[in-house]
Amino acid sequence: MFSKDIQTQVDKLLSRYPIRQNALIPILHLAQNENEGWLTEEWMQHVADICEVPLTHVEGVVTFYTMFRIKPPGKYHLQVCTCVPCCLVGGTELLEHTEKKLAIHAGHTTTDGTFSIEEMECIGACSNAPAVIVNEDYHEQVTPEDMDKMIDELRQ
């Protein structure tokens, strides 16, 4: 199921650990990236076979970690931190602003599938709060205006 390039990465990962199960989480990340940001049962079964673990084990792992998704996210996944340091300096307001701007609640995806919002626990950018991760990029000291600009640019 993995494309050829990614399969090479999977094989490399497997070679870095004493047993195949150890590579489960990194391989799930690759699988999720291959499948537009979320995991289907088919993919989970595939990864289970690769790592030689039961499917229920993979499902247990997937539902434990917040970064694994079993629903498709938007093309741009806005991860807004509202944890303690961010919430002290406007993270909560930033989230509310983003929700209003996109007219969806955190945990949801816009109908056109472009944006999804996730409310994050601490993402470790505390001294540059409030912070947002868009897909894989950190944006720090984000004001509501910055957010508007960013969303508008991404929409283009």
Binding site: R16, I25, F64, Y65, P85, L88, E121, C122, C126
Partner: protein, 419 residues
């Protein structure tokens, strides 16, 4: 103005610094590693013990002692795992190190690996740290290309591999045994102890789990006279410089490298430039969200492990979250209880039920349904998590609750139901 003491940030504070392998070597990198390869591993552990360094991840356990606990002659491989799952709210120091000077940390990891006889070290980086993961991976690639990793680094004959492992979003994986479960490819459930990781860790082999910052101190400690110098940076039993993550309502939030004999007040008012917008200080959460909160009157104290412990709180991961007079403490506590309810792994009873229940009670206050009874109940529910759970998350969730109730009772009264 109070100056930083630059050990870990020596390169980072240099605007000219090039974080590539060549740049790191040019600034004197890998000298300590070369020296270490000429020492006996037990002598390295001894040096680390003598430096007095205590783990920077939060618990403050002496690193040398931890390494000396590693089970020997087990016939199994030993592992060193760097804990880069930095997720304690307020903490953002390891990210700086990994992003801006990856080779310093990696050299420390290599020194540690040699000290405990580990031939394959893992770095468990939290999954959200995409930029750090990229930086570390390219740094490791550079090391392999240079021969510093692989069968014969620096001609030592000491086979050493490093793998960067990505987590996937779980605060509890910062707890060392949960981290090991996660590294093994499982749900991150803390393990029953004993056995401790030094006896049965990664894949049931002897393992030491050390924080990124702790490991990044190793090149300095193992340099000539390093251990002695390191010791001199703080009062007895609180050795070295450390990275303080300063956040919240200060004018200059940031990560600062400080000695351990600096007063907390100076960190807020001098380094941090005081409270923003000319407001007054209301309180500080001194060491990550799990540490007991301090009021404005209590901040005249040296910022280190022991002095904070004497004040009934803790330095934890040295993450100071400062809040001003306008802050709604109940809302703040609600955010903290929400965090622990979200991050509890759920396996053990007091934490699974207690984190959620306490969150419900605080939320009830926010809806204006508070009362003396509910405040007592909140305190009791928090207290019941203390010391009764399998790992320290129960304590971590309990300490803020109990300290907020104790130190800011009037704030809760604002949310009492009107009879």
């Amino acid at each position: 103005m109070l100056e930083e003491t630059l050990v870990l940030f020596k390169n980072i504070r240099n605007p000219e610094y090039d974080k590539s392998l060549a740049g790191y070597k040019k600034s004197g990198g890998f000298k300590s590693l070369k020296k270490v390869f000429g020492m006996k591993p037990e002598d390295v552990v001894q040096e680390v013990k003598e430096s007095g360094i205590r783990g920077r991840g939060g618990a403050g356990f002496p690193t040398g002692l931890k390494w000396s606990f590693m089970a020997k002659d087990t016939g199994k491989p030993s592992y060193l795992v760097a804990n880069a799952d930095e997720s304690e709210p307020g903490t953002c120091k390891d990210r700086e190190l990994m992003l801006k000077d990856p080779h310093l940390f990696l050299e420390g990891l290599m020194i540690g690996s040699y000290a405990i006889g580990c031939h394959h070290a893992y770095v468990y980086v939290r999954g959200e740290y995409f930029p750090s993961i990229k930086t570390l991976n390219s740094a490791v690639d550079e090391l392999y290309a240079d021969g510093l990793l692989g069968p014969n680094p620096l001609g030592s004959g000491f086979q050493l591999d490093i793998t960067i492992h990505t987590g996937a979003g779980a605060y509890i994986c910062g707890e060392e045994s949960a981290l090991l479960d996660s590294l093994e490819g499982k749900r991150g459930h803390p393990r029953v102890k004993p056995p401790f990781p030094a006896v049965s860790g990664f894949n049931a082999c002897p393992t030491s789990v050390n924080n990124v910052e702790t490991l990044a101190c190793m090149p300095f400690i193992l340099s000539d006279g390093g251990a002695e110098a390191f010791k001199s940076f703080g009062p007895q039993n609180n050795s070295g410089t450390h990275l303080v993550s300063l956040s919240g309502h200060v004018n200059r939030p940031g990560v600062y490298e400080l000695r351990m004999d600096v007063n907390m007040k100076d960190i807020i008012y001098d380094i941090g430039g005081g409270i923003r917008n000319g407001k007054k200080l209301k309180g500080v959460i001194p060491g990550g969200s799990s540490s007991p909160v301090m009021t404005a009157d209590e901040v005249d104290v040296l910022y280190n492990f022991d002095d904070l412990a004497k004040k009934g709180t803790m330095m934890g991961s040295a993450a100071m979250m400062v809040f001003d007079e306008d802050t709604d403490v109940v809302k703040l506590l609600h955010r903290i209880t929400r965090f622990y309810a979200h991050e509890s792994c759920g396996q053990c009873t007091p934490c699974r039920e207690g984190t959620h229940w306490s969150r419900q009670i605080v939320r009830d206050f926010l809806s204006g349904n508070g009362s003396d009874e509910k405040l007592k109940l909140l305190n009791r529910v928090g207290g019941n998590m203390m010391g009764t759970t399998l790992c320290a998350l129960g304590d971590a969730a309990a300490m803020p609750i109990q300290s907020f109730v104790k130190k800011f009772p009037d704030e809760f009264r604002k949310y009492y139901a009107i009879a």
